[in-house]
Symmetry: C2
Subunit: 458 residues, 2 copies
């Protein structure tokens, strides 16, 4: 079955030949003697102009075909005099599926993105969302390609988990207990739950990924993670996909090498393999997007300690909304300043221990951990990683300080007893990458069916 994409790939192959395509009517203009249909089958962003004339016996019925209808077109691909290189001169057009008058995409005006969220099941039919979700697919593949070609083992982290339950406030509970019965009986008995205990949806596959890195040297996850955080912002979703690579015998410097190499590969792959889509974003969503991304691919990423970043921020002649402080996190305005200061992506490394996670490698200074965030121009933090604490005693001590439950993580601790070694990893939120790649600035618009507080349609 021929795809529109095949024709755009090498249209000369099909010139003056009879072809048949099935797809949808994107727009339809009729004149007395001719009709013009913008046709698309969804395999390529650009439409194909289909021309038909009144010599066709079915001219009258064809001219009544409505926008959104599914049709089969038979015709000859010919050189065009108009803006496009070629068009299809139809010899036959058959209606496959009619489109009713209440079709929400029928109207001439450009629907708002807010409105399109309400009809999420139709929005991939619009140019913008068609481009967004194709780039989502291309970027996902680029990520797999990068890791597979570099010898990583793809690992599916468990989604339902009994670990991490301390952060339970921000986790979704998973249960088969009957809530109405609990209300009636006044008792919760987790021994009767499906897994005979309390379980939740995972917030990260990293700890399990470490078990795979210590078997395969290089492993990565790419799967959904969940946060029951009651945040209604442009960058928060309750269900999103994460990429979490983990590498044995790799320190923080090696980790940054991989982060940089992977990001450049993925950006380049998308630029090369979604050209029309990227042009669309560049024209209508973020002017200069392609330049921004092209520049990233060839730029050298700066590497600088958190402490030195704070120094630069403090010395800057800027009136900050949040005053930068040693030992503290940095704000969005600081991220922006520092990428502009270095005119490119910046790895901020060696963060204050107290604001970072328990598993991060404790540096010799006793104050910092071997953690790193990557800040990119125009998007802020894109990835975060760290060398992991491989010393059993130090890790136990840190967990005790944080009053963590060591029993449920005994397996994680054991990794340090059985041939443990230096290892590092990082996490990249897939949607954050997509926002960066497309310029579309709301996470609701880069997820096919997004979940946010109060929103779970489909």
């Amino acid at each position: 079955m021929l795809d529109l994409k095949d024709i755009y790939k090498d249209y000369e192959k099909y010139l003056d030949k009879e072809i048949t395509l099935s797809g949808w009517i994107k727009s339809h203009r009729k004149q007395k003697e001719f009709g013009f249909i913008d046709f698309n089958d969804g395999t390529y962003l650009k439409n194909l102009q289909v021309v038909y004339d009144n010599k066709l016996s079915s001219f009258e019925s064809i001219s009544k075909l409505k926008l959104g209808s599914a049709i089969k077109v038979k015709g000859t691909l010919i050189k065009s005099n108009g803006n496009q290189d070629f068009e299809l001169k139809a010899s036959d057009i058959t209606l496959l599926g009619d489109c009713q008058d209440d079709y929400p995409l029928q109207s001439k005006g450009r629907p708002t993105r807010e409105y399109l969220r309400e009809i999420a099941y139709l929005r991939p039919r619009t140019n913008l969302f068609n481009a967004v979700f194709r780039v989502r697919s291309v970027a996902a593949y680029a990520i797999h390609k990068y890791f597979q070609e570099n010898g990583y083992v793809y690992f599916h982290a468990p989604l339902i988990t009994s670990s991490d339950c301390e952060g339970a406030g921000e986790m979704f509970q998973v249960t088969t207990l009957d809530l109405e019965k609990i209300a009636k009986s006044g008792k919760v008995d987790y021994s009767k739950d499906f897994f005979s205990k309390q379980t939740a949806l995972t917030v990260s596959g990293q700890l399990e990924a470490e078990t795979f890195a210590l078997a395969y040297k290089k492993a990565y996850t790419f799967g959904p993670t969940f946060r029951a955080e009651n945040s209604n912002t442009k960058t928060h979703a309750s269900e999103f996909w994460m990429i979490e690579p983990e590498i044995a015998f790799c320190d923080l410097e090696g980790d940054m090498d991989i982060m940089e190499d992977m990001l450049k590969y993925v950006v380049k792959y998308v630029l090369d393999n979604a050209k029309e889509e990227m042009k669309l974003f560049d024209s209508f969503i973020e002017k200069g997007l392609i330049d921004k991304l092209t520049k990233l691919v060839s730029s050298k990423f700066t590497r600088i300690d958190h402490e030195d970043v704070i120094k630069i921020l403090k010395e800057a002649d800027v009136k900050w909304e949040f005053e930068p402080e040693y030992g503290e996190d940095i704000a969005k305005e600081h991220e922006k300043y520092i990428t502009e200061y270095f005119n490119g992506p910046v790895f901020i490394k060696n963060w204050p221990k107290d604001i970072k996670a328990f598993y991060m490698k404790q540096n010799a200074d006793g104050k910092t951990v071997a953690a790193v965030d990557l800040e990119v121009p125009g998007a802020g933090e894109l990835m975060g990683g760290s060398q992991r604490e491989e010393d059993y005693d130090k890790l136990v001590k840190r967990m005790d300080e944080l009053k963590m439950d060591k029993d449920s993580l005994d397996w994680y601790l054991n990794l340090r007893k059985y041939g443990g070694c230096i290892h590092s990893g990082f996490g990249m939120g897939f949607e954050r990458l997509l926002i960066y790649l497309t310029g579309v600035d709301n996470i609701r618009d880069v997820i096919p069916y997004y979940r946010t507080p109060g929103n779970c349609d489909y």
Copy 2:
């Protein structure tokens, strides 16, 4: 950083050169003047023999290194007189991470698969599971490669869903309501739940995938699905990964073409790209496995109606445990018989309407639907698919007959109103494929961290 895999790929490139590798001790034999370490860094199934002698000043301490320890080895790759082509003559061996004496994989005997499930975080370090999870990774990549190279858009179906809630008995509920508070207050108020309504984990992404097929022509999902089924069998897990392609302008015959083409591609890719692993399964898990799979790749799949299958079964000179009947499902023994009868894979199509799902295309006979199951020799049902009912009125009528709630699926019905067309798709359980590919017969052994009733560790 050099990987063991690089050396196995082209060892002559490294012969007589000095190299450095980091990895783990898989076994260690010491003699008076020599020591032999089976070394592996996890990037390749086969070990590398490391030889060291008492000319090294550290001979004594090296000879005490324990199985499971992480080490760094520097040495020269030389031709070997033994069974292998090459070995590493060490000039320096450094301990990176010790392995304690209670290491569960320390013992000489081969641990049972049941025991290894209890230490799932260590089992990828054993040969068998190392091979299984590498094949899992290779097969996952093959699936992405197939669909991406054939122009499909990869689509992430939502995991938390408000659709499908009728099958709620077998779904996991997702909630942020406090169960203890429900018990105390005696009230369940879903308007206070995270999504302001009752939600559950998805059992399939197919319905949403149809929305993407009607925008892109070809789409596929590859993601986790969940079943809260209280089954303790070798083939049931509560959390597993599914591949669900969906294709517009494609009927049941076209669907079968794609199923056959995709399966052959994936099987061939795994045979070509996981050679050592497949040899291991062939030798130790399922004799004849490679032959079975090689035969599948070159075989022509039979296509036969369900009714004709029943006829063959009824005429067979076999004492059935379950008597085959027109209009009914077929049992495992029937699946086995029919693949042996045709000596290869069999598509059984046009199933009785009453035992199949509501969305399947109703055939003109009024009794069957355009559904298909693929039965393969030695594994039974591997995939299932169907043409979808594109007729709005017929679909509504069927949902009414089954007393289904149409309101929550209005978007799904609307697809039939707005340029709907013939379309088809199928589903393949990823773990079912892995069982077929590896010969490992328990689903618990092809999932890194499996979830079954009562089991949710890690």
